[in-house]
Subunit: 220 residues, 2 copies
DNA sequence: TAGATTGTTAATCGATTAACAATC
DNA sequence: TAGATTGTTAATCGATTAACAATC
């Protein structure tokens, strides 16, 4: 496959989102400049990204919206829905189960898992099963993506079971590093780290304003 | 200030986390190699990061754990707790309010806000106020960081009010681009995008295995 | 001292951006 | 045609990594 990194794939999804909005406004064709404005990148980035995936338009004529969406759907595998699971039915896990944003992207959480028997059951619209049933469920339903939303101390163990079960991609909310085989795709959402870095830069900004009030004000 | 990007700051926090763990095991001094192993980066990266912030050790002697933690605390502003707010008391907002991971990092959510009167009140341990009171609250308590956890359609408006109120840093969970003055620090957590990219790479991996079964197996 | 580790300068690498020829 | 836009090659930029002198 080609040299497409995470950022590049994210941009493709954003181009697609922009295209869908533009289509809903009535656009029939777009130029790389339009997509660039919509996503906030240079037009040359758009064309570069497209060229990596052989997404071509018409010299001088831009791109046909419908065709481009269709091609992006194909590249991004958006034509068929994907079933995923969540392990951990605490604060984060519960929020994800009820989160409305996934379904419209064709992502369906089909089951949650928790070790706490008081949390398991079928009261929600999706079942909450004991974690001991994780492996069987994943194999039976051929799940390949799962979310880890358990306490730090349990995360590695859960990850191990997931991988044993055949899961290939993991979104991990536990703020620790997990040991994984190289061929497993893992992304981390580290909420405290996100906040901490924001706080750092806000503080840095404050220090800067205080230290160099003159230049700072001129520059802004 | 120096050329420290988000990744670099994140690594500093990770070094600090590793140091705290090593200290709890009884380490008194560490080498850049130890920190590198703990965080999963090359040792040269560790020393480079430190040099940017003037964090020095002893040639041949490594770094004194306590001193290094203290210096990192100073650089990262971890010596005083930070109060933040959350706007939107839906799934995500509620999960964040109850999330246990912030407090140990000195981050305290002091209030949540929602437009829905049925969600406001003081039943939780932190107050949920009407969004109309956001500006007053932020000014009164001098809050500089806030989280956006409202539906997409409301996110830009909430961001505008936050900035008017004096907030300088925002963590945004709404999967849309927000227009901001340049001096506002904004980070995005886009959950659907995280899952979508994982799904993409998992699919890409599957295709690869199917297309080049021989080389693939050899390589792994 | 000899060996090990730091701190920094230089090289590499990958991604972004600019330039521009192709062409509709 | 002339002008505008694509697609690609080359240049730039920033971050990571390697090399190595300094030194404890």
């Amino acid at each position: 496959m080609l040299k497409a990194n995470k950022s590049c794939i994210e941009r493709l999804y954003r181009y697609r989102n922009t295209l869908i909005k533009l289509k809903s406004i009535g656009f029939v064709k777009v130029f790389s400049d339009n997509l660039a404005d919509g996503v906030g990148v240079p037009a040359t980035q758009v064309r570069k990204d497209f060229s990596i995936f052989g997404l071509s338009g018409n010299k001088r004529g831009g791109y046909i919206v419908d065709e481009l969406i269709e091609k992006l759907n194909h590249v991004l595998g958006k034509n068929k829905p994907v079933s995923i699971i969540v392990v951990g039915k605490g604060n984060i896990g519960s929020a994800l189960v009820h989160y409305k944003g996934f379904e419209k992207e064709g992502i369906k959480i089909v089951a949650a898992f928790d070790v706490d028997p008081s949390k398991t059951g079928h009261t929600d619209d999706i079942p909450v099963l004991p974690t001991s049933e994780l492996k069987g469920f994943v194999k039976q339903h051929n799940i390949s993506v799962g979310i880890i939303a358990v306490p730090d101390a349990a995360a590695q163990q859960v990850a191990d079971v997931m991988i044993e079960s055949g899961i290939k991609g993991i979104l991990n909310f536990a703020p620790i590093r997990l040991n994984m085989p190289e061929d497993i795709i893992i992304h981390h959402v580290n909420l405290e780290l996100e906040l901490e870095t924001i706080i750092y830069f806000v503080n840095a900004l404050n220090r800067k304003v205080k230290q160099e009030p003159k230049q700072w004000i001129e520059k802004n």
